[in-house]
Symmetry: C2
Amino acid sequence: MAATSVLTRPRKQCRDATLQKADSLLAAAAAVIAEKGFEATALRDLGRRFEVSLGGMYYYFASKDDLLFQIQHRTFTALLAEQERAAEAGGTAEARLLRLLSGHLGFFARHPNEMKICTFELESLEGELYDRVLVVRRRYFRLVADVIADLMGRRERKGRSHDRHVTLFVFGMLNWAFMWYQSAKDGPVEAVAAEMLNLIVHGAVPRKRRAS
Amino acid sequence: MAATSVLTRPRKQCRDATLQKADSLLAAAAAVIAEKGFEATALRDLGRRFEVSLGGMYYYFASKDDLLFQIQHRTFTALLAEQERAAEAGGTAEARLLRLLSGHLGFFARHPNEMKICTFELESLEGELYDRVLVVRRRYFRLVADVIADLMGRRERKGRSHDRHVTLFVFGMLNWAFMWYQSAKDGPVEAVAAEMLNLIVHGAVPRKRRAS
DNA sequence: GCAAAATTCGAACGACCGTTCGAAATACAA
DNA sequence: TTGTATTTCGAACGGTCGTTCGAATTTTGC
């Protein structure tokens, strides 16, 4: 992840080590916030764990809200970039969706703290920061929704509302995974993604048991 | 919902109006907490909105944590009771699951604030209060998991792990609904539940479009 | 080695928080 | 009406919080 760090405070220049430190600081903060919640996390504690004074924190982040924003914005931007690549890689709609499911679960297995924050603390943001995160989230939703619409067939579909609901069901399955997924217990993400795709395409009930 | 109010403070007696007021207070608190988050909600604000002094709040609730616990425990207990009745009502596994899906979505459409809190603020509880809520949640999980196991067929199933995953997928769909469901836009919960059941049983892809 | 810029610190400010507690007010039973 | 238990209040306490700011320190460019 990481990509470009966004030191908001200093105007003119900043050393490479500073950008790197901001990244580390952000990752460490994500771990604490994911565990304790954003409101319950004190900047003093974050600084103490990373041996930065309270005042020093404000050299890296404009405010506590800015810190939360950067975690969410960077995380979702990185996820979107990865998944755009996965969607463009071609293949049938089924193959593309499998890559997206696998990619989503894999990304969040690699960044559980950040993703947990994106899920739980979205509404802790306000105003412009909230909106800017929402823009990225919507682009990601559209990306997945389009592949699902392809999969379901754009002609014989039951209507936009149905497509939307199926997409939201899929996001529900994906986003709820952080409540239970553990690689040791549940196997590699590719296997879970395959189970999920199978449910979406074929359902979970053996044909002989179906009432209709 | 409501059921028996649990005034923890007074030892000897309390008037009916007091129990009733505790209920109203709890519901009003749920609305604020659902919007602002538990940590960000101040007891002072809750009291002010309901014209109860800060000190007066402690006549109804032993602590701020106790307030959160009561919201979660009462809500999940009521949901469990409703759904146990729905599961016992008989019919095929498919019919019972449909009632559970409908019941879950319906309950949460009637109590969006409380359910949002149950989802977002579970980990704001600690120790015994956390454990007591978890006991109810686990019973509810088991209830749904059993019906799904029935539906999938207890003989030809692919293993416990697969059953568990399907159940967790279903809970994902259900619990994510509060992120998007609006009756005006998405229709009655029964219709959404039917769509969900259809996905679980048959999948979402028309047979002619399936690769395999 | 020197000045300028970037980085770090520590102290302090004002605000808000959950909780306690004893007194005041209210409602009920006799 | 009197006495008792229930309900409500208001003030205060000790803490913690995000943020600011000027000084001290370190690094960089020359």
